[in-house]
């Protein structure tokens, strides 16, 4: 069975459209990050989060309104998993203060709806949050450096730059989507971003591997043709793998429960963007950097030189 048989799509000629499309997405992402920012979760902001379970679905604005009247001005109110559960997040400096505010919140919520169940709160100190942001950013940076080195070693620097451009593209757009949707950005999302980096690379490397192979076997084709042939040869694999991974992630997203909702969402976005970028971004970037057959075959060049020695 075949979804795609022998495709002969000229991907490389469409690189202008791809460039415009990608730049547009990135501009929107950055714009949203600047204007709306990210809805950072408790892990990063520090403070206290309390989950309140109501018996019926509730209007978030009503709760916001009630809380604002009662000195919970900076509180963030959002749904938690279902329309009946609401998470309230507010600032607190110490564990003791957190406990006190939690008790106050309980009184306020119970006056609003006596049947509401106010859960135990999670507290996290602000310093811990700052450290997590630092460590997280460092982790992404180190992962990118490690990958750059490996790809340079196995392929060539242009490939390595191409793949890094692709994964920065993926991470930025995924983060942009989180900014647009204002879905809570917590530690598990950071883990998901790193998984996206891994996945996006996986996809890119498969294409590059084929490009390297084809540069060796298809002597008469131009670099552009080699890239086109390689992408077409790997396209069915790219789509099938993305599809199976997406199937699993959709299961996680819909059935996995509130706690891995964001995680699954980040990966779904990342994998869709990652699949697109491995075809249109990584390859076009590498080609635009001026890769040629000779760049990949230093050994054979020496061999031909030797033949000319009488």
């Amino acid at each position: 069975m075949n979804i795609l048989g022998n495709t002969k799509i000229d991907f490389m000629s469409k690189r202008k459209f791809a460039l415009i499309f990608s730049v547009m997405l990135i501009v929107i992402s950055i714009g949203s990050l600047v204007v709306r920012g990210l809805n950072f979760g408790l892990d990063f902001t520090g403070g206290t989060a309390v989950v309140v379970d109501f018996e019926k679905p509730v209007e978030l604005n009503e709760i916001r309104h009630v809380l604002e009247e009662q000195k919970f001005k900076d509180a963030v109110v959002q749904n938690f998993g279902s329309a009946k559960s609401v998470q309230v997040r507010f600032r607190s400096v110490s564990d003791d203060e957190s406990t006190k505010l939690r008790d106050q919140l309980k009184v306020i919520v119970e006056s609003f709806d006596p049947n509401a169940k106010v859960g135990k709160g999670d507290f996290i100190g602000a310093q811990v949050g700052v450290e997590l942001v630092e460590k997280g950013s460092l982790a992404i940076l180190y992962a990118i450096i490690g990958i750059l080195l490996y790809v340079t070693m196995r392929f060539e620097w242009r490939f390595s730059v191409g793949s890094v451009i692709a994964l920065v593209h993926d991470v930025m757009i995924t983060v942009g989507v989180f900014s647009l949707t204002q879905i809570e950005f917590d530690l598990t999302i950071l883990a998901a971003l790193l998984a996206v980096i891994g996945y996006s690379l996986n996809d890119t490397i498969v294409v590059f591997d084929r490009v390297r192979e084809n540069f060796k076997s298809l002597r008469k084709k131009s670099a552009k043709e080699v890239f086109n042939i390689s992408i077409n040869q790997t396209i069915s694999r790219t789509i099938i793998t993305s599809l199976t991974t997406l199937l699993v992630l959709l299961a996680l997203f819909f059935i996995g429960g509130a706690m891995i909702h964001g995680f699954a969402f980040a990966l779904i976005v990342g994998i869709v963007v990652g699949t697109y970028s491995s075809i249109f971004v990584a390859s076009t970037a590498t080609l635009s950097l001026g890769i040629t057959r000779e760049d990949l075959m230093p050994v054979e060049k020496e061999g031909t030189n030797l033949d000319h020695i009488p």
Partner: protein, 623 residues
Amino acid sequence: MNHYPLWKNLLIVIVLALGVFYALPNIYERSPVIQTSAIKDQPVDEALLEHISEQLKASKVTDFKLSLEKNTVISKFETVEDQLVGKEVIDNLTGYKSALNLRTYIPDWLSKAGGSAMSLGLDLMGGVYFLMEVDMKAALENKFNQIRGDTIQVLSKAKISKKSLKWKNKQLVIKFKSADLAEKAFDKLRKQITEVNFKRKVVDGMESLVGTIRSKTIDDIKFKALEQNISTIRNRVNAYGVAEPIVQKQGAERIIVQLPGVQDSSEIKDTLDSVATLEYRAVNMTDNAYSLKQSGRPAPAGYKFFEDEEGRPVLLSNRVIVSGDQLTDAMAGTNQQDGGPMVSVTLNNVGAKRMLDFTRKNVGNNMAVVYKERVVVGEEKIMVDGKEVKRKIYQEKKTVINNATINGIFSNKFQTTGLRSAKYATKLALLLRSGALAAPVEIVREKTIGPSLGKDNIEKGFKSVVVGFVVVLLFMLIYYRMFGLVANIALSFNVVLIVAVLSLLGATLTLPGIAGIVLTVGMAVDANVLIFERIKEELRLGNTAQGSIKAGYDKALSTIADANITTFIAAIVLFAFGTGPIKGFAVTLSIGILTSMFTAIMVTRAIVNAIYGNKTKLKSLSI
């Protein structure tokens, strides 16, 4: 022809068999249990067993099993609902504490072979999580004061007069009138105050010594403060009666406390951050404490009765000579003279002066150490909003942990010798240190996961794994037919292997860990897709069926390796920089990459070889 050598086939069979064996413990169901033990010295015996059994039956809980284990009654239930009813019943017994837990009952032969089920993380079984930070500033300040005191002593002993001496930006600055004095002081201090690195400098135009504290000293202080806090917290948590608590260090200044099954965090918080202290007091040398106590007469004026660890009475002065906050260090060691165990104690300036004053007048008399701690002594029932609520009763417990004769005059450093054993010396040193105000702890993170949320997480997590897995299996079967079936067998073994490795590593299963397994399932398919697509391509190019299989596997190999190694790099970085749940995700991801390469390449090849390898006239493949 496509053949695997015998050793390769054998290796695959052995690895898979081991995988199945060590994954096996996880299929046994986890039963909710309650562990009950005595708060003080109430008996834990058959009678208690009988009593609990009757009480449970009275509350209409019928499906349970009771057993005795090391001073603990284990009550096993069929459902979590029964367990919660049981908790209420058992909590009503006075003098006993109980803890909720989940236990896997695996057969003996399995556990003897080293098999064990993965333990569940807090997010899956419910409980309380604390991250506590040790206030290192207090610990360091203590050390600074001690060094300052020691330095003053060295200088005055050597009769070197100084202009001034103080800590400034973590540097000890000592000013002198002349270069000669500074030089002399330098000579003495360099040898005797080893925690500090002294340098001759001119500060504000004066001949001075500037001492920088050695980084090793700082590391040492931090390490000790952390270790001491961990041992204190562990003792308290154990005393509280939590099943399988986790108390471990995170980094250089933090402590993770995980208490599965605990739901009321406020109560245990009181226990965790209460501070133990100690006091040195003079012993009454004229009266016999024992006969006085027996006769029921009051203690003589200025004295009070205390008890030692065996409950024997000791008469101690009301006046405290030195208290815990004046003690800076206590270390167990061996006495140079008789080779017996001893504890050497270091006091700060204030303590040193008081000790000097006291010992000057009391050589030959006895001095005792009293350890003060808040402990649970029982329970009471009180009415809150018309509801009966159980509350633990705390009491300041004072125990005499040491009683020794003063052999000479001393001030900031002294030894307690003639101790029973080296083990006792170690224990005493630890108690002294934990009684000293070395470094208070502060809770920087608190998290409570309800038992129903935990159960919900397991069920949903497990369900999503199953659904995702089945959907992928179906897709592969439809798309690749026979080869899809082969890939599915490999995929199933992949999950078994991941579970086996995690169980063997003693890993804790958390929700992100489950997500990691799910993601690996999605990605493990990739290697097979790469191989199968390559085989299809070879067939399209007109290669023979057998040749296509061989070429497909060979050509896909380097791609698979490259792709997996890059993902592996990301997983390692995650592991190195992540904490808690992220680490769990990284572990499952990296194990998944390794097992999926094994199953997707070797296992599928072995099966494909077995099916097609011998067919010489193979015309087509079911792919």
